[in-house]
């Protein structure tokens, strides 16, 4: 097929928008930790932007989107971008240069790894983090991306719907975060004293704003063409984000006071939940999906904090794991072929099967991501150790891991 310049422009812009989300994560997470770990938290996202961009070009894209091998993994034909050129791919995004599709997908791989870092901040050794991330991209992300999005992937063939990454990105990140936090153990002083106060809430809000902005590329860009579907996904995205932000604000208000940190968190979980659904549901469904996301994630977070013994520090599981699960299931409820002929009808349009498929997709990714991450984490732990030592943790990872401090000055 030949290149459509408008689709290409839209996909390139979307790729740039999704790229900006990773610095968005750096700010969003960075603002929530203690100041002594601010740079270390940002560094995790920034290093991933470098590392995964590179690995993706070298082999990640090929494993995920290379010619299918038994529904499980992509072949090595695209290693080092071999045959990935200015002409369109014959199977993916056939109206834009293959390179543009590759770049767009690269940004998804990057941010997924960056999301996981929320579980391990303030105590993970940087060297172990780099090794773990390389393994995780290769052994967890690439296969799951192939199953769901790869032409011939087994979950795709079964009809599991995931418009922009509810399973591949969010459940994947959330389940892995839980496993890794569990292996790592809690931060020193966790629960003994007052919680670790966020060092910079305006920074969190700026991060959330960049995430919201970039998510238009994430979701509406996933239409892979410019037109009605992209517009529909765009509106669904904004509506879900807004509704969830407002709902979370109300939940915190009921509890005590309307919280800005809560509203920012709500926006993010609304964006998470609409991700798998954005191009399959009518945009106004962003409202129930947003409300559901805020409520589900709010109580999941409470549960994690009060009942589960794990210091999953920035609640990747509660936000992305639960938000992504709700979104994947909501796709099975609200999807409509009137919105996207390439999709399916959901339960409310009489197709209960689709909900079953979605449940299958959710369960598979949950189990695989959790288990595989646990094994990978354990291997890294045994071989090189996952955690910094007690002194390094007390001093803070900025100085102990990176030899830097966030705010320099004459004195402090």
């Amino acid at each position: 097929m030949s290149i459509n310049a408008a689709d290409t422009a839209w996909l390139l812009v979307s790729s740039a928008l999704v790229m900006l989300m990773t610095p968005g994560v750096a700010l969003f997470y960075g603002g929530m930790v203690r100041r002594k770990n601010l740079l270390s938290t940002m560094m995790m996202s920034f290093a991933i932007l470098g590392l995964v961009s590179l690995l993706w070009v070298l082999y990640g894209y090929s494993l995920s989107f290379g010619p299918d091998k038994g529904g499980i993994i992509g072949g090595l034909d695209f290693i080092g971008l071999r045959t990935v050129g200015q002409e369109p791919s014959s199977v993916y995004a056939t109206t834009v240069p293959h390179l543009a599709f590759m770049a767009f997908e690269a940004m998804f791989a990057i941010i997924t790894v960056a999301l996981v870092t929320g579980a391990v901040v303030e105590r993970m050794k940087f060297s172990a983090f780099i090794v773990f991330s390389t393994l995780w991209l290769t052994i967890v992300y690439c296969p799951v991306a192939h199953w769901v999005w790869g032409s011939g992937g087994w979950l795709a063939r079964l009809g599991v719907l995931d418009f922009a990454g509810g399973t591949v990105v969010h459940i994947n990140a959330g389940a892995s975060a839980l496993a890794l936090a569990w292996l790592l153990g809690p931060r020193r002083g966790y629960r003994e004293k007052e919680p670790m106060e966020p060092n910079n809430i305006p920074m969190v809000v700026l991060g959330a704003a960049l995430l919201w902005f970039g998510w238009f590329g994430f979701n509406a860009g996933s239409a892979l063409t410019s037109g009605g579907l992209a517009a529909s996904a765009f509106v669904a995205t904004n509506t879900a984000a807004a509704t969830a932000a407002f709902t979370w604000m109300l939940l915190s208000w009921i509890h005590r006071r309307p919280s800005l940190l809560g509203a920012a968190t709500g926006a993010v979980v609304g964006l998470v939940a609409i991700t798998p659904a954005a191009g399959f549901v009518s945009p106004v469904m962003g409202i129930p999906i947003g409300i559901g996301a805020a409520v589900a994630c709010y109580y999941a977070m409470l549960l994690r904090a009060r009942k589960m013994g794990v210091d999953e520090s920035l609640d990747v599981w509660a936000c992305h794991g639960i938000g992504g699960t709700w979104g994947a299931l909501a796709t099975g409820l609200f999807a409509s072929v009137a919105v996207n002929a390439a999709g399916a009808n959901g339960l409310i349009f009489g197709n209960a099967m689709q909900l079953g498929k979605q449940l299958l997709g959710v369960a598979v990714v949950w189990v695989f991501a959790f288990a595989a991450t646990w094994v990978l984490g354990k291997i890294v732990d045994v071989t090189m150790g996952l955690r910094v030592n007690a002194t390094e943790e007390t001093v803070g990872l900025d100085i102990s891991q990176h030899g830097e401090r966030a705010y320099g000055g004459m004195l402090r």
């Binding site: 919680p195 809560g262 609640d315």
Partner: protein, 112 residues
């Protein structure tokens, strides 16, 4: 000479400064400190749930005064800084043996 160290509420700085100026002292040094006392801490919110912060922001006002001005100064600060609620702060008086004005090298009472 005595050094007066007053721990006060942040919002009382202007009143205290005005009161001190009325009693003839415009030279003061102020710093931001964190205090814990009888006053309860601050309840803040996290994404879900809440937490207590034990230390509250206070200001420390330091000034050195002549012996004969101590009582007057204490009164001035006390009445300017009071709200009657817990957390109004404390004032301490410490002996000072000497003072030097860096600019001129003057020592003792002249340096104040």
């Amino acid at each position: 000479m005595k050094k007066i160290e007053a721990i006060i509420r942040e919002e009382k700085l202007d009143a205290v400064r005005a009161a001190l100026q009325n009693s003839g002292y415009y030279g003061i040094t102020v710093s931001e400190v964190s205090g814990h006392g009888r006053e309860g801490g601050l309840i803040l919110q996290w994404r879900v749930g809440e937490y207590k912060v034990d230390f509250l922001p206070k200001l420390k006002v330091e000034l050195v005064v002549l012996d004969e001005d101590v009582a007057r100064t204490l009164n001035a600060i006390t009445s300017a800084a009071r709200t009657g609620e817990m957390g109004d702060g404390k004032i301490f008086v410490l002996p000072v043996e000497n003072a030097v004005r860096v600019r001129t090298g003057e020592e003792g009472d002249n340096a104040i």
